[in-house]
Amino acid sequence: MSLFGGIVLALLLLALFCGLTLAYTAQKFSQQDTSLVDQINALLPQTQCAQCSYPGCRPYAEAIAQGEAINKCPPGGEQTISLLANLLDQEKVALDSNYGQQGPVKKAFIREQDCIGCTFCIQACPVDAIVGAPQQMHTVIADECTGCELCLPPCPVDCIDLIALPETELSLPAKSLTEQACIRCGLCVDACPVDLLPQQLYSFIQGKAYEKAASHHLEDCIECGLCHAVCPSHIPLVQYYQLGKSVLQHQDEQFQLAHHAQERFQQHEKRLARLNAEQERQRQARSKLAANAAAQRELIRAALSRARGRQQGDQQ
């Protein structure tokens, strides 16, 4: 075989290989076709607090898709801004303080002895988290409350308090005296029984890149401690993985809560729409009834006037 033939054969094989790889990756990594508004909405905290001046998270998501600024969401804070900046390929900006400050997660709580049962707060709640009836005491379902503060202004007797939840402190393990910097010797990779990359996971968690750690299968870690045992720098690796896992779990819970709140907000919107439609239907029925009554009255009046005319004719 001449060299030319060899090169042609090699190029053909290469082209075939590239084609197959492209076809395979196109199949495997095809992005699900979700609209931009949905993607933005998924990153918002779904408190439906309207602090951004839009009536809920989804309207704000729609506005962002139209070019609105991404720094108007105080409950989401820095994290939401950086996620949005990533998604939209924009610069990260600081939270716009005109729309509020980022604080700890809060829950509304009704002082029940002071409640007069006016139902104003029930109507204000975007996720239907307050139960009660007219002239009856109201109360907040704590699990459903998003801490949006929308129930505070309508309350005529100021009986609603916002209570901050105690925050769980997650911090990196303290450095021991024998601990040295990671030199990426790779001994931990050989030791890991589930074929993970302990040195990579460690550097991701140290840099707070928890999503990266998750994409490198942090959840597969069985916390056996072999990596710590072989580490020549005596780094307490397992403690880092535990921290990473709890942060990821916390983020996952937040995501679930946000999703739940979003669903409840959608139900709330649907219910309002249904009520409005029902009221509209009744109003139209009433006006139709009234129109019918008016027409009948007109008929009667006409009949009466005809009868009256006939009576007058008879008398003459």
Binding site: C185, G186, V189, L196, H217, D220
Partner: protein, 320 residues
């Protein structure tokens, strides 16, 4: 890392026997500067130089770089090279363990691209019409460039000669005409490679390096050279023996590519990484214009290592 330095000894011995004192002078000169640069940067970074110098990593970089540089390079070229290796490639990236690229190879490639003339002339091996220069004239050449007779000792490496002659001569004719043929590959180079092979096998035996990277580097070079051997015609890219035992193959496979910091770390990933380096090294040395392809191949492999690791780590990696 001290053991890796010790494992270099047989190869360094062979280099010294066939190519004179230049390699040893390089190693000592570069070690001196490596330690100096390392201490300087460590104190600038407010670390304790005394503690970190004891890990021998700077020394190992200097030894590997000293082996790679031609035995006839002037003194300033060595300083430039080790500066880029220690200061730029290692400490500017965050020090030991944080470097993305193999420091020795970065130092080598910088001077290879910047000073191609100095980097492509080697001392002629002992027995090819010449004996290598003695210790004093090597010293005077390295430090003063004063020895006018140095041209008599230097020339291109066997790989360069081979590449230039390709297309004209069949393999048999090439080796017949060329006075630099040794018993396996180029004269002298076969012994040098056997020396590094011996050191590499000792490292494997001691469990300091894992078998995947050297085996897959050597295997991929063997397979590619078999494909392009072309039955020894004038277009042949050389026999597998020639490729396995000439210039830097064994050094690259056992000592350079196995650097744990910059290589892929999963067992499967190491196989892929080694194969990538072997293929690139072969392609660059046969069809490229540089005296050796290993440095570029290793740097390209360093680029790919995180990606390879990502796709080969985890028990479920086969599901992805």
């Amino acid at each position: 890392m001290l053991q890796v330095i010790i494992a270099c000894l047989p190869g360094v011995l062979a280099l010294t026997v066939f190519f004179g004192w230049g390699t040893l002078i390089n190693i000592f000169w570069l070690s001196l500067w490596a330690l100096a640069f390392e201490a300087l940067v460590l104190s600038l970074r407010q670390k304790q130089p005394r503690f970190y110098l004891k890990d021998y990593s700077a020394l190992l970089t200097a030894v590997l770089l000293g082996i790679c540089l031609p035995p006839s390079v002037p003194w300033w070229l060595g300083i430039v090279s080790i500066f880029f290796a220690i200061v730029v490639a290692k400490h500017l990236y965050g020090g030991l363990g944080q470097n993305l690229f193999n420091p020795a190879m970065v130092g080598y490639v910088v001077v290879l691209i910047a000073f191609p003339l100095e980097m492509s002339t080697w001392i002629l091996p002992r027995g090819a019409f010449s004996t290598p220069p003695d210790f004093l004239s090597s010293l005077s050449f390295v430090f003063t460039h004063a020895d006018p007779g140095i041209d008599a000792y230097t020339g291109a490496t066997i790989m360069d000669v081979f590449r230039n002659e390709r297309g004209g001569l069949t393999l048999a004719e090439f080796w017949q005409q060329n006075s630099k043929s040794g018993f396996i590959a180029g004269l002298g180079w076969d012994w040098v490679n056997l020396g590094f092979l011996l050191g590499g096998i000792w490292l494997l035996y001691k469990g300091i390096i894992s078998w995947q990277i050297p085996v897959s580097v050597l295997l991929s070079i063997t397979i590619l050279s078999l494909i392009f051997y072309d039955n020894g015609s004038s277009l042949s890219a050389g026999s597998p023996f020639f490729h396995l035992f000439s210039v830097g193959t064994m050094l690259g496979a056992f000592f350079i590519a196995t650097d744990p910091v910059t290589a892929a770390t999963t067992p499967k990933g190491r196989l892929v990484y080694g194969a990538l380096i072997g293929c690139m090294a072969f392609i660059i040395r046969v069809w490229g214009a540089y005296p050796e392809g290993f440095a570029f191949a290793v740097l390209l492999g360093n680029f790919a290592a995180p990606l390879i690791d990502y796709y080969t780590a985890g028990k479920k990696s086969h599901e992805r």
